[in-house]
Symmetry: C2
Subunit: 290 residues, 2 copies
């Protein structure tokens, strides 16, 4: 943690982390607490949430409030407002997601709509709830967690990738509109990140396809990146360290270069890069975390 005092002055006293109890969200909670912020941790499953909230409280000596709620609930704004209306939330991280895997026409509609609710509607609801007070105070931070998969279509994650595009472009507008009011907004386009599911997926990759980290082709670099996932803590620190430095952040410089090179391609080629990246493994990863 490079400068916890100024981070706390800019983004304290309370952080709200949505999707807080697992993987990157757990790391966002720990890292905010390590930087001296109190943390409201929001996630669906009460038992795990309470356990991780106790862990964050014990490790960092800050106040932690655990809020078990369903991020697909259309009334989530009222739930969060009621649970936080006595707090000054200076940092909001939206990390919750629903990532249905499979061809679009094979994924049940209710799961697709759950994904739209969590990836599109709820970030709008919670930014609408929290951003006006930040703008009125003239300081604050908002991080929307998106994915490198959000900048082009592919196969297997149609509605998920579209939802990540929604968060990416929404964050860019919030960056442009709220930056002049002193509120730092960014999206982080997360690349491969270690988790129990990810590590099982990684074992299905063909190493011979993933050994060209310095290739000029973004597909080769993206394949090499699959073998070298970020840790959740690396992602959390990357967002916090770079908040205020631009609308679109990455946890590794190589992710930024892969995405820049892919966005510069004709769209059919950009999609082909990501389709071939999916085809590096014959196994469709389970990404149902919520």
């Amino acid at each position: 943690v490079s400068n916890p005092v100024s981070f706390k002055a800019k983004y304290g006293p309370w952080a709200l982390i949505a999707g807080a109890s697992m993987g990157i969200g757990r790391a966002f909670s720990h890292s905010a607490a390590a930087r001296g912020l109190n943390v409201v941790m929001l996630a669906r499953g009460a038992e795990l949430l309470e356990e991780i909230a106790a862990e964050v409280r014990a490790e960092h000596g800050v106040e932690v409030r655990a809020l078990a709620a369903d991020l697909a609930d259309p009334h989530i704004g009222d739930v969060v407002a009621a649970a936080t209306d006595d707090l000054e939330v200076g940092l909001f991280v939206y990390n919750a997601t629903v990532a249905p895997a499979g061809r679009f026409i094979d994924v049940p509609l209710d799961v697709q709509l759950l994904s739209v609710a969590v990836n599109c509607a709820t970030p709008v609801i919670l930014c609408n709830l929290l951003a006006p007070a930040m703008a009125a105070r003239g300081r604050g931070g908002i991080g929307l967690v998106s994915s490198t998969g959000g900048t082009q279509g592919s196969i297997n994650f149609g509605t998920y990738n579209a939802g990540k595009a929604f968060e990416w472009i929404l964050a860019e507008t919030l960056w442009a509109e709220l930056g002049p009011a002193g509120v730092d907004v960014a999206t982080i386009l997360v690349g491969p990140t270690s988790s129990p599911n990810y590590n099982a997926f990684k074992d299905t990759l063909d190493p011979a396809l993933c050994n060209k980290p310095d290739s000029p082709l973004p597909l080769d670099r993206a394949r090499a990146r699959l073998m070298d996932p970020s840790t959740p803590q690396e992602v959390a620190e990357a967002l916090y360290d770079q908040l205020g430095q631009g609308p679109v952040l990455f946890s590794r410089p190589t992710d930024g270069s892969i995405i820049a090179d892919t966005l510069a391609l004709p769209r059919e080629e950009a999609v082909a890069v990501w389709r071939e990246l999916q085809e590096t493994s014959t196994h469709v990863p389970e990404r149902q975390a919520r």
Copy 2:
């Protein structure tokens, strides 16, 4: 119309146009009928819809079915299924949109969520309804109408631009997944298009900013494009003529070059181009069409 026979063979016998009675949607209905397809016209306001449906029927001698329904209704899939289950829908055009104007923190939440429903949830619902039968038949076409505003954030249209990004990236995945099954999917990223609202907006532009159509800077070209809007018919013909030629289509080659050049920029510069484009006029256009 270059080859109506093959268009009808590929995409007939019925087209379903969602958001059918005004502007581009009316043109999509007329142009599909001119190419020999029967048309289900779907829009919210029954009176105008019946009037335009009668116009299409009389002018082109095809069958036209008018379906008045609310595209924000979460049960819209059941409504459309019940109204079309005796028809073979070979072409689906999703043109409906809700475009709230204003800074994100100033737009009422209910309008933002209406925008998410119409721009994100409903295209997922209707593609889920219609694509499986097309894939099973091994032919069909799907066009999702997005916007050049969807490929970067800006100011004034936060949730709208994010929803257009959703449609863009969803269409790319559907293109990759359904193309091998014989179903042509594309998004058209629509640029400035004439309408009564647009024409009033155009009168507020500074002509001295809009006179560099051949500049190497995408901002200059985008500003010049504001003065020379497409007609709705031009947009409709562009989608139909190019369906099957790639995932992302434009109504003018210059739009494609503006977007390609903008996507190749660092993201803060891409957002700046679109913010400055907004600032070509001091007047925020009303784009509440639905």
